[in-house]
Every structure is written in structure tokens, then in C-alpha cells.
Symmetry: none
Subunit: 309 residues, 5 copies
């Protein structure tokens, strides 16, 4: 157990040793084990965007076993997916990588200004599948956000009592926000704060832009001269918004990125004190060897330690 | 136990032996026993469309015993129906054919753009009736889809804990889709994926057309040159969308079909690697002997094995 | 146990000794211990207004430990916050200050005429974190108020059975009121009454203006010559509206105040027979030493007793 | 919060902040607040020995309020009693002293070689009465001891989940032991260990004699030259047996003692590193002023701090 | 995941992936990670024999933290202890070594011909403490054995549903057996079989002697010429009795052993195909460096792999 991992765990004093054990598993697995950094492979796009859009660019990815193997081979800290994908591999890969059960999901078979999420799995599912954590998505900005916060409340309390960790994907969306506002710095910070206040152990947000969405916020950003010009500055601010570094906050980039821009973003996350990346489409939508190469490049930026695990 | 059945069961590693036993029952019953193919008789149209529309064309079908006997005599793998129909025959035909309790239903006594389903039976009902599986319908595309996914969540977890299999009828409908879109290839693939991610063991979809409903999907289908011109191609794609063949996916045709078109569809399902057919109105709305003859023709296409079980 | 605290507790005859014990803890902690007066530090603005707007003016306040320490050092009676902030310090500061778990929250990521609140924590959370009370916000005037009253009903009953105290933040807002009406004397008195009738042990309202919102009320205020000209008069009236002094009612000021105006308000609260202040942004948005100085000034007005604890 | 209290709390890392808060309350109340030492008044003798034997020597002690007042006035850390006694004063003295609900009891209306205990109160009772802890008696040596350990198992888990502390009175008795053996050094150490292993936060044992009861133990005491000649040595050994000082262990003396012998015992407890005394009959069976004087003398031995809290 | 571990896990096909994950954790931790062999540190002797008899030979072992550190430093696969000992370190060492909660215990404060066990912890305790398994002791031969089997039945089912592994200490004792019979080859084989039939994932027995206790068994051992002369033969027979190698069975030696005899026993376990050792008193009753040395010697016999983990 490295000093850094111990330091991170010390922020979770209200949690029982079971939850700490699962947080430690997430932090002590893979190529970044012990560094306090995480790279997580999430594959919920089959549910969220549809299978062809998600997997046709790299057809082996239609197979649920593919993602377990990709995450293990690349040395990720964890693999996150909905119930069906985890059920389809949990026995074959038992004990090989920490699993995060994405217990709420949304699809795009309808289109609504204000998205919501359906609960699609239970805490007992997470236990029987051997997961280290359960995950939920919330949509700050949606008119349904209150229901989503209450979903988290019910299941997170149950998860914590049973020694699981809780991950919140905090994605601002909905009629309360402009399109640009979904990734605005003020809104992203707010989204991170809400997830933290709801009791998340790990928070996932998108990398923010320098746009400021809300007038009341802009006044403060300008008055207090909060630095948000560079991506590094913005990452630093988001970490601050997530309890000043006492909650693990990880970032995803956008949909279509060059490897250069992605690597640049990872550097900014590392320099800004972020805890890591969640890399989905940018990894599983390319051939496996290329994906491994990319994930390795990313981990090399985060990780002073090598070969651990 | 044939190699093929063993191979299919290997995809369900997270399920307990009770559920595997029930899946094996479904796969090892009837004329197709052991082939890995299924032909299922579903009779929920009395609830879904009304009795006269469903049974007047063949009045013996008003009698619940009729369908048990049809399914048994034709050598189907299973018979699926709502609570009432199963209660009306479960004792008389106990042990003669695997039963699937259709535990959610919709009627057309009202008409709404966005359909939903009522839970109409319990897991305990399925156990006391000796069923092998419980079934639910979801409507991707409906504004009520989130509630439907949550219905599945609660009951599927309970069903699996009690060793039952879970069948999901995944029928795109609702204001999120055009009429044509309900059977579009992209939407059907998406519907299969959603059912699989929700943890279904068996997925039932309608045979898709070559229509593409969503722009974001069309881009991918064109870019990746996904073959969807022939029905065989489309079946193959749907199987891919259902965890690349690691989930049982079966198909139904449309409402009014000639026997020739139906047989043609079955050939396409077989050639495209589908797991079988669910044949309702096309079988029970004609005289029994004709129905048997049709079902036999269908099974002859699927089944290299004879007289097993 | 001072006579005054005993007198206050005598108003809560239907509550069990567990709840009385927790009320006594709130009244017997800090510099005002035993006086019957309370100064509470509430920090839910990170959730309610966003982190930058809340904490950027005094960046150490991003850290959840900051607020525990501020409340303890200043000698507050209690510290109130949402789940995440309490979880982040409850072990480290266990037993040092009574905690109030703010179990419902609202954010401003959407903007709606009629605000609501999401339940964000449970009574079991309050017990495992060692809290003395749970708190909820209601919005009299909102179309959602009935749901909010029902939230209180369910959780307050559970809280009381487990020996916790119940605090209600009663904030008139919504399409039923004019902007001015939100702080009108009649509406504020009404809001205090509703909270008291819902079974709150402690009621938090904003300091009212002399505006009268409702015609039916104005008639009475004029007829009965209810004195509402001075702030002291208005505080006295609110205390009257909260069961004539038999429910603890505390006040907050507005957002941007000079220290002078704030101190003037506290004098009015004290002279009007109010039970104390809840001071959030006016304390944690300035450097710690200045915050301590301000809180000390406030407590000096309320408190004839010194140095107790 | 003194360093010593913080150090003691650090031994309870598996407990939630609620339980830590209640342990802190016990350690931070009364004349010994902050010293890490406890003097607790227990009055379960009315149940255990009968009222006349217990209270006739000092008739005001028949009144349940007497004991609350005695404990408060003397500056005890806590008052422990069965359900009835606590119910009879919990409202009147709410918030004045931490309460320990003795949730199991034994009487002497029958006489048996192997005593047992009846569960006489619930965790919910403890919460509604505002208790800081629940207490149980176990009888190592009794043929009923297994049932008693299982009583603790069920209720202690529930108590801990609700943020309460757990006190075990560990009294060796029964046909497995000689009369002398009930206070033997080996058996007392064993009794402390069992209570600790059952998950007690606070353990109460009787001051041990130098007698060794079990042959298998004697061999070790002699071989390892464990010092047990003086009472101080024996206290030190018991503290060691209770997880080497990482569990709070407090002591009671015998039935008929002179004040001198009692004071001598307290000195030995203090010198041996014990955490304090539980003083029942020696305090409440004498006039109140004398009892206060005696308890004050005892506290003076334990307590370097004065006048705190 | 080594082939050997995969092979071992394949024997547990009825268990859910959660339980497999925890079995994998036990097999993939420490110096023997991946070899399919286990060395476990069990410390329940404080409860079972008393603290002085257990810890006085090496006084640092009175401290619960000592055993966590010993197990971690020595590279054991797991640490097993009762509730109290695990609670006292589970937070400080969270994630450093798999824990086995010994959920039933016996003491020797009474002496009975027919021993029993008290349930002393719950499955929820195991989850909140982050344990990989729960453990129980059964006493084949005791008149209380039926109650003990029923203890296992209730809790093992709950443990498995929640993804935990189940360890059974199967210790023949009681009036049904002679003293010599407690370690007889027939009785030990029988004890292993009973534990396996009760659904244990891991079985712990004592190394058997060549004595045969039961006449009916002797007849078969002689007739079938079952080789039991050497310890290696006897280990091989016990492994056979535990489902022919498809259940993990580990061995303990006796109380007073020389290192030479202990090492000899380990060689026999290794040669006979046993899965490993559980080493309690022989490790923690000597100074830490000597204990590490001994455990290392033992692991060197079992383990072809080095430095893994």
C-alpha cells in the first residue's frame, strides 16, 4: 500500500472497511497500481448509443468478452459496463480485474430535451457478480435530475452498507443548459460538486471548456480571477470543486479525437492534478493492438511506477 | 447434451445452475431438441389485441388447452402465455412442455402514442406454475421505456435468483420512432442490444427491414459498409448486436403473411445464424392440422436432428 | 441544564427522550450553550448554488474539513451540510460538534418557476454519521410543495422514531408568489407555521420584510394592527407564528450584507425573541479569522454566558 | 478533543462515525471528560438481586430519578440501567448524561448453577431513549454462554449500524468454574478477551484475584512468568488481554468493601492502565452526599483534569 | 490467472462470479499467488483457548494489529480471525490481505464432552469489513453437530448469495469419538467429506493419524487396501475424501511441534496433493522474525513461483 493510496483513502473516513477495500482494489490494480491514478475502460455505449454506432468500427467489440480482455491486457484499473455485458464475462474473468456495474442507463431510442436514466441493475447483482463498485449517471440540468439524485440516494446507501464503492457519471444535460453549457467550466465544476455531495467515492466528468454558462457564476469567476484559460487550469479547478482533492475525480474526452489531442488532454489532467481517465470509444473502436498502444501511452503519462500489480 | 447446446450455455456464465437447467430444458425439448434452435408458440394476443381478433378465425383457440396441445403436438420448444392462459392448463399438461410466463402485458382498450406494459404476474406465479422462464415486453422508443426497463430490473433479478430464465420481447414503438422505424435495422439491432444489456437470456425481436431510422446510425452503417441488403444479412447483424451470438435471439414475422413468405423468412433466419422463431398468429389462427403442418415445415428448416427428446 | 433550555424542551412533549437529548445537545454546545440561543453554520451552497459561487471567494472552503473546523473553532451550536460534506469529515471530527444532515437538496442547473427538492440522504445515514438532526427544505408557494411536505412526513416520522431532531428550512418560493412575496411578513409567518405544523423541532426562515403578499392576510394585519414596522416587531411576529415561542425558530439574512447590517439584524432577532441565526455565506466566504470574529460578535449579542462548552 | 481521547478512538477503525461520536460522548462527559478514564454508575441490581437487597440500605434509591441525579451530580461519564429505570427518567434528564441501556438481565427468583440472561430491551429502545450505548451481560463458564454470545451478535450488529456503542459485562460464572475461579486472573483475562472478540467497544470485568483456575493456563502463567502478584499487575494483564489497550476495559470491585479498599483498588486500576471503574452498590447504597464524596475521591485518582465540560 | 488457479476454480461451477472472485483473491495473494497453494494465518485462539495461553509466549501478539502485519509481511494468502480482531484492524489494513471472518466460536470456560459453537458474527459484518470469506467450525462426533450443520446452512447460503466464499473448520470431537479417534484417518476423511457436502469452498482439517476409529470403516480400509501408512498417503486420501481434489482442503498440525516436524508435515501435504497449511500457534507464538522465517520455509516447499503478487 503506497503512501499516496493511503492518503487518498484517508478522505473516505465515513466509509466502512469493506468500501475502503474495494477502493483500494481499484487503486491497486493494473499498470497504475499504487500511483493514485486510474484509467478505466467503460463500455456502456451499446446501451447508450446503440450497438452498430458503438461496435461496427471494430467488430470484435460486439463480443462481451472482448472488453474484459482489452481492459486486462491494457492494465486498466477497472472495467465498467451494464448488467448484460458484465454477466456475459464475470465468470470467465473472475478475479482478473475490478468490475464496476453501471446500474443505470439511458438509450437514444427516443429523443428528449431532458434525459433521464433507468435503474437497470441492483446492489445484489453487483455482489453476485463480484463487482468492486456500482455506478450511476446523473444529468444536472435535466428536469429529471431530482429523480436521478434520488436513485443514487437509495442505491448508494445500500451499496455502501454492503462494502461497495459508488461511482457517479455526472453529465450536465437538459433544458436548463445551452449545448455549449454542457461542458462549461462552471457547470462541470458544479456537476462534480453535486456528485460529491451525493456521496460518490469516484466522480466522472467530461473535460470542461472555458465557456461559462451561468451569469451568477461568471461574476464570481471574473471577480476571483479563477484561472480557466488552459485545460490544466480547468482540471485543477474541477479537482478543487470535488472537495479540494479529497474525492477521486476522473475525466473523459469527447467523441472524435486524434490521438495527439487525447494525449494532450491526458497531460493536462496529469498536470492539473486529476486522478485519471476513463477511455471508452477512443479505445474499443480501434483494433486491439492499437488500443493497447494508446492506453499504454496514456498510462505512461500518469504513471511513475511500472510493472506493478 | 449436444455440443451446440453446451456452447450456447457457456455464454451464460453468471447464471446459476438452476437458470442453466431451465435454459437447457428449452433447448432440449421438442423436435429441435439439441440443435440449438427454438420454435416457440406465444399466445398473448388475447390480452394484447382482444379475443375475437385473435381467436375467431379458429374458434377452438378460444380454449386455453388448445394452445398447450398445439405446442406439444407440433414439438415446439416452449409455450409462452399470460398468467390466465397458463393457469388454465398448467396442471393438465404439467411436465409436457416448458412454459414461459409472459409476466407483463399491454392491451388496446386505449390508444396511446407511447405504449407501456403492466406487470401481470409474479416470479412466484412462474414457480408455482412450473415455468422455465418469465417474459417481459419492453418498448424502446416509447416515453415509458425507462419504467419498462425498471420492471425488468426488479423481476429479472428475482427470477434469476430463483433459477428461472428471462425472455425479453424487445419491440421498438412510441413517439421516438417513425412507423417505419419500428422495424428498421438500426433500431432492431439497438432493441436486441438493450434487451441483452438488461440481462435477458433469450431475446425476441421482429425481423428487421433495410430501413435505417437514425441519422447518427446511418452514418456508421454506410461508413462501415455493414451488409443489410438481404434478410439473411440483417439477421446476421442482429445476432451480432445480441452479444455476437452469445445471447439467444429469436425472431417473429409480421401479421399477415403467406406461408411462402414465412418459410422464406425462416430460411433467412437459419442462414443468418438466428436461433429460431416465435410463431403465434400464423399458427393458432388456422386449423390445427394446418398449423402443425406449417410448424413442421419451419422446424424442418432449422433442424438437422429428428426425433430427439 | 439551564432553566431556559429546560423551558424550551418542555415544548416538545410528544417527542421521545432520544429526540430531546439531541435537541439538548444542539442547545448545550458551543459558546451559546445553555442560553437557549443558537448559531448554526450551514454549508449546502456547494450543492444549491455551485462550488465556485460558494467557495471561490475563500478557497480553503472548498475543503470539507474547513467547515467542521470553522464551526468548532467559532463555537457554533451545530454544523449543517449535505451527505457528501458530512461523510468527508464525520470520522475526523466525531464528537466535536452536533451535525445536522441536510437530507434534501436543490441545485440551479435548471431554472424553474416552481422549485422542488430531491431527497439526498436517509435517516440511517444520519445515524451512522452520528448526527443530532436531519434537515429538509420546503418551498411554500411552489406547485411542488405538497410533494415536499410529504417528503418531510415520511422521513421526519422515521427520524423521530430513531431519536433524531428535525429541522425544516422553510423558504417561500414558486409561481404562487411574487418575488417580493418570498420574504413578505405574512408569507414568512405562514412558512414558519407550516414547518411547525409539519412537526419540525427547529424552523429556519429568512428575515421578513414589511411587505404583505396576500390580500386576505393584509386585511387582518391592518385590522388587528399587528406591529410589523421594525425588524424586531417582525421577528416577534414570526416567533408568535411558530407556536408562540414553543418552537425554535432561527433566521438567516440575505446574500450580500455588510457586517453592520448583519449585526443589526442579529440585534433585532435577539430583541424580537428569536432563537438565533444560521450564518452561511456571510461566514465561510471570508478568511477564517474574520469569520471567527464575525461569528463571535454575533454570539456576543445572543449570549449572556461566556466560555461555556 | 484531547489527544488521549483521539488515541483511544483510533482503535475503533471499523466503526462508523456515529458509534465514534457516542464513544466520544462517553469519554468527554463528566469530571473525567477528556482524560480517557471513565467512572460509570450502573444500577441493574433491582433486577439482578431484588429491590430490597439493593435499595433498602438507602431508601431514596428506590426512586429511579435518584440515580440519574447521583450520576449527574457526581460527574460520572455515564449511567447504565435496564429499560424500566431509564424510561422512568430519560425525559426529565434528557441530555444531561450519556445513558447505557442494559439490554439483557438476569434475576435470582430461581437459582441455577448455570445462569443465563434474558434480552429485555431493543436497539430501537436505546435510540428512542437517547442512549449512547447498549449493554449486555455474558457468563463465560455457564452452559448457556453460547446463547449469550449469540444474543450479543444479533443486537450488537444492529446497534453498530445505528451508531450506538456496545458495552459487555463479562462475568465468568457457571458450572464450568469453581467459585474462586469466577475472579481468577486467567478466567478474567479470558472473559475480557471474549468480550473484545465479540466486538465490544467497552468491556466491564471484575477485579481479578491471583488465583489461576485452569491447569492449561497455569502452565503458561508460570512458564512466561506473567506478573500477577499485585492488583496493579493483574489490571495491567487484563488490559493486555483486551487487545493490548485498544479496547476500553473498566473494572468493578466486589460487594462489601470498605472505602479504603475501594480506593486502593482504584489506585491499582489507575496504575495498571485500566480505563476506569464502574461503581454501583458502593455508591447508591449509602446516603447521597457520602456517595458523591466517594465518587469524587475515585475521580480524583483517575483525573488529572478538573472542571472540564 | 494461472492455469492451476483456473482449474481449481472450475470445481465451483454452482457459485456465482462474486464467490469465484473472492476465491481467486485468496488464491492470487501473497507469496504463493497463482500456485494453487495456500498458507493462511488463523488467530482465533484468544477466543478458543484464552489470551494468556495464546499470546503470552509472544506478548506483541496481544495487539490485534500484530497479526495483520505478520500475515502481510509473511506473504500469507489470507488472515482469519473472529469479529473483534478483524474490527480492530480492518480499516488500517484495508485492501492489504484477504480476510476470513471466523463467524462461529467456542471457548473453554466450561468443559463439556460435546462441544458446540456460538455464531458470533454476521454475513453483513463480513461485507462491511471487506472480507473475502466467512468461516465456521463444525464438530463431527459431538451431540451438537446437527445444530452446527444448521448454522452453516443458514449463513453459508446468505454468504454465497452475497458473493463470499465459505470456509469450514471440520474438527471431529465429542462423545461419539475416542480421544484418538479425533484425528483418525477414517474420521478425518469423514469430516472433510461432511464439510464438502455442507457446501464449503475451503475445508480445514487436522493432519490425520493412521488410527482407524470405526469398525465399519476399518473393514473397508483393509479390504480395499487404502494406503494410509505414510502421512503423504493419508493427505492424499483426505484430498480424495474432499471430492477427489475438487474442493480446496488445507491442513493444520498440532499444538507443540518442532520446526523439523512441522516442515516434514508440510512436505507430506505437498507430496500428497494437499492445498496448503493453516499455521496459527506455530507462527504467532514466536518472535516475528522467526515466524516470518518459518512461514517462508513452509511457502518455499509449496511454491514454485516466487516474488509474485
Amino acid at each position: 500500500m503506497t503512501e499516496r493510496v493511503r492518503e487518498i483513502l484517508s478522505g473516505y473516513g465515513a466509509d466502512n472497511p469493506g468500501t475502503l477495500t474495494n477502493l483500494a482494489r481499484l487503486l491497486n490494480t493494473g499498470r497504475l497500481a499504487g500511483t493514485g491514478k486510474l484509467v478505466i475502460l467503460p463500455v456502456d455505449q451499446g446501451f447508450e448509443h446503440g450497438p452498430a454506432r458503438s461496435f461496427a468500427p471494430n467488430p470484435p467489440a460486439y463480443d462481451p468478452r472482448y472488453h474484459f480482455e482489452l481492459a486486462i491486457e491494457a492494465g486498466c484499473n477497472a472495467y465498467a459496463a451494464p448488467l448484460g455485458f458484465l454477466e456475459a464475462g464475470a465468470r470467465d474473468y473472475a478475479g482478473e480485474i475490478p468490475l464496476i456495474l453501471k446500474a443505470s442507463n439511458h438509450d437514444v431510442t427516443g429523443s428528449e430535451a431532458d434525459p433521464s436514466q433507468a435503474l437497470t441493475a441492483t446492489v445484489e447483482d453487483a455482489l453476485r457478480l463480484g463487482c468492486a463498485a456500482v455506478g450511476f449517471t446523473i444529468y444536472p440540468g435535466s428536469t429529471h435530475r431530482m429523480e436521478l439524485y434520488e436513485q443514487v440516494r437509495a442505491l448508494a446507501a445500500e451499496a455502501k452498507r454492503h462494502g461497495l464503492a459508488v461511482v457517479i457519471w455526472s453529465y450536465p444535460r437538459g433544458s436548463g443548459l445551452s449545448k455549449e453549457g454542457e461542458r462549461a467550466i462552471d457547470i462541470t465544476g458544479y456537476a462534480a460538486q453535486i456528485a460529491a455531495q451525493l456521496g460518490a467515492h469516484i466522480i466522472k466528468v467530461k473535460l470542461p471548456t472555458a465557456h461559462i454558462e451561468q451569469d451568477a457564476a461568471r461574476k464570481v469567476y471574473e471577480q476571483e480571477k479563477i484561472p480557466i484559460d488552459s485545460l490544466t487550469d480547468r482540471v485543477r479547478h474541477i479537482v478543487q470543486c470535488a472537495f479540494n482533492g479529497r474525492r477521486i475525480v476522473i475525466f473523459s474526452g469527447g467523441e472524435f479525437e486524434t490521438d495527439e489531442s487525447l494525449i494532450g488532454e491526458v497531460r493536462a489532467i496529469q498536470e492539473g492534478g486529476g486522478f485519471g481517465s476513463i477511455v471508452g470509444r477512443n479505445s474499443f473502436q480501434r483494433p486491439r493492438t492499437e488500443a493497447i498502444r494508446l492506453l499504454t501511452s496514456i498510462m505512461n503519462i500518469y504513471g511513475p511506477l511500472r510493472g506493478s500489480a
